[in-house]
Amino acid sequence: MKTELAPRTKVLVYGLMCVLLIPFVFPTWWMVTSSVKPISQIFAFPPDIIPRSFDFTTYGRVFELQPFAQQYWNSAYIAALVTIGTMLFSSMAGYAFARIRFPGANLLFMVVLLGLLIPSEVTIVPLFQMFLSWGMINTHWPLVLVPIFGAPSVFATFVMRQFFIALPVELEEAARVDGLGRFKIFWTIALPLARPALAAVAIFTFLHSWNLYLEPIVFLSSPDRFTLPQALTQFTDAYGGALWNVQLAAASMTALPVLIVFIIAQKQFVEGLAHTGLKG
């Protein structure tokens, strides 16, 4: 399909893409610009695409109304732990299923894949009961443990396995002849080569943890334990009406750092995702 297009077609394609872009880009723009509009202008008619005046006090209000810094830290460290744990365990399991011959490997792989059919929404009631009996309700343990071992990590294991299957085995065999143990081979040879797949796994896992919503609202009850998605919905006035500009300021602070990291590293991001075993 990669042929030079006629100039008229080019204009058409550019025009179509620009129109299609609106619902993808405008909401983010509207979130950031509305967060700095004074409350009187937030529902102005006609809408101001570019703010007329700026009011940054909403950003201070975010921290007054909620322990927002603490909530930010909660989300960040939980997502970091989940990402590291998933990368480690899923690459180990994926490597074993791809490379090592051991009795029952196929059966055990089927058991692991079963995890894909059982999203944590299905098991949320017993999970709540389990963590309740372990005294872990209103702690971050469920948000760390369940994603590292549940359905998202199974998906990660699958991606890692597909990658290792496609990876040439010669280097590792040479190392085995030299008498290197399995763990050494995995750690020093296979894993460094798996960087693209690991990047994809890291991105998926981080975003999944960062966006988690059902689990936090089930497991957490005090505001200083909340994660960001949960905290964002708490900016309301005494009657439960949304404090739109404060809420949008908090939303902007949640969304922008990840967005900026993505734009800087978008090549690795997109290519990491494209080069997983998902290609089919």
């Binding site: 692991v112 059919l117 549940g150 949008l248 290609k279």
Partner: protein, 310 residues
């Protein structure tokens, strides 16, 4: 010489250690999968068994009743007046989401596969909602979809009176679908783009020589060759659509009425708002069965849909 060779072989056999290369390797294999397997057993398989066990009980957490009632909860599924509407809403939501997501992803991937200056910028922008925090994205759409919000403001500016999007059953359903599609379509778009780039160019050149129109090339070459990706992404998208919760909770709380109450949201309400863990567990089993049947059906269909497999 022969005798010494035999005795050496005997000695070898006697000295042969228990931990041969194969055994050591197999042990390493088990150790490598042990954390994941233990975790899945503890946090997925045992809970699945428990959820089935709970579903056979009347269990009100507030009243702290826990009583074995056999299949009564399952009979309740059949008589639950809200459930047909919940399942209907789930079906409409999932079907709408999958159809819209897959076709938009394919269209964007084809557009992005053109040789044009600045195409990477477009790719980045179309993908960007994927990395925007889900609840932040939903909140800004909720703000935009208010009766006096940005969308109706802009419609009014060109003389159109927009509906109260989130307060009308039909437009509320359309809203939750569309918000979710724009959020996640970038993922499928990238997977399709990678698949499109894997189609050998010679095939198109040969087709052009034979006089095939661009549409025919797309139907006869592109679609068959990217069919494995289409199948895989459709499974992931359908299963993902059944898990959508935050968007519903933030945008509509299942309303107006119960018009956007999908199964996950209904399950959450029954278990954690009405404290009915027994019936909530029965709904969980229903959700599990739906996910399993859909995945299995699509997997079975792969021979019909998928033109080739690597």
């Amino acid at each position: 010489m022969t005798s010494s060779a035999t005795s050496m072989a005997v000695r070898e056999k006697r000295k042969r250690p228990f931990w041969t290369m194969e055994r050591r390797d197999a042990a390493a294999g088990y150790l490598f999968i042990a954390p994941q397997l233990a975790g899945i057993t503890l946090f997925v398989l045992i809970p699945l068994g428990l959820v089935f066990w709970y579903s056979l009980h009347e269990w009100n957490v507030l009243a702290s009743t826990f009583r074995f009632i056999g299949t009564e909860n399952y009979e309740r599924l059949l008589t639950d007046r809200d459930l047909p509407r919940v399942l209907g809403a789930t079906a409409i939501f999932s079907a709408g989401l999958v159809v819209l997501n897959m076709s938009l992803a394919l269209l964007l991937a084809v557009l992005l596969n053109q040789k044009l200056a600045g195409i990477t910028i477009f790719r980045t922008l179309f993908f960007s909602p994927v990395v925007v925090s889900l609840v932040a994205w939903t909140i800004v759409w909720s703000f935009l979809l208010q009766n006096n919000g940005g969308i109706n403001g802009m419609l009014a500016a060109i003389g159109v009176e927009g509906p109260n999007w989130l307060r009308n059953p039909t437009t509320a359903m359309i809203s939750v679908i569309v918000v979710q599609v724009f959020k996640n379509v970038g993922l499928n778009m990238i997977l399709f783009l990678a698949a499109l780039q894997g189609v050998p160019r010679e095939l198109y050149e040969a087709a052009r020589v034979d006089g095939a129109s661009p549409f025919k090339q797309f139907r006869r070459i592109t679609l068959p060759l990217i069919s494995p990706t289409v199948l895989l992404t459709s499974i992931i998208t359908i299963v993902g659509s059944l898990q959508v919760f935050a968007q519903i909770a933030v945008l509509t709380q299942g309303g107006p009425g119960i018009s956007t109450t999908v199964l996950v949201y209904y399950l959450y309400q029954q278990a954690f708002q009405f404290h009915l863990f027994g019936y909530g567990s029965t709904l969980s089993i229903l959700l599990f069965v739906i996910v399993a049947v859909l995945t299995f059906a699509q997997w079975q269909m792969r021979r019909k849909i998928v033109f080739y497999e690597n």
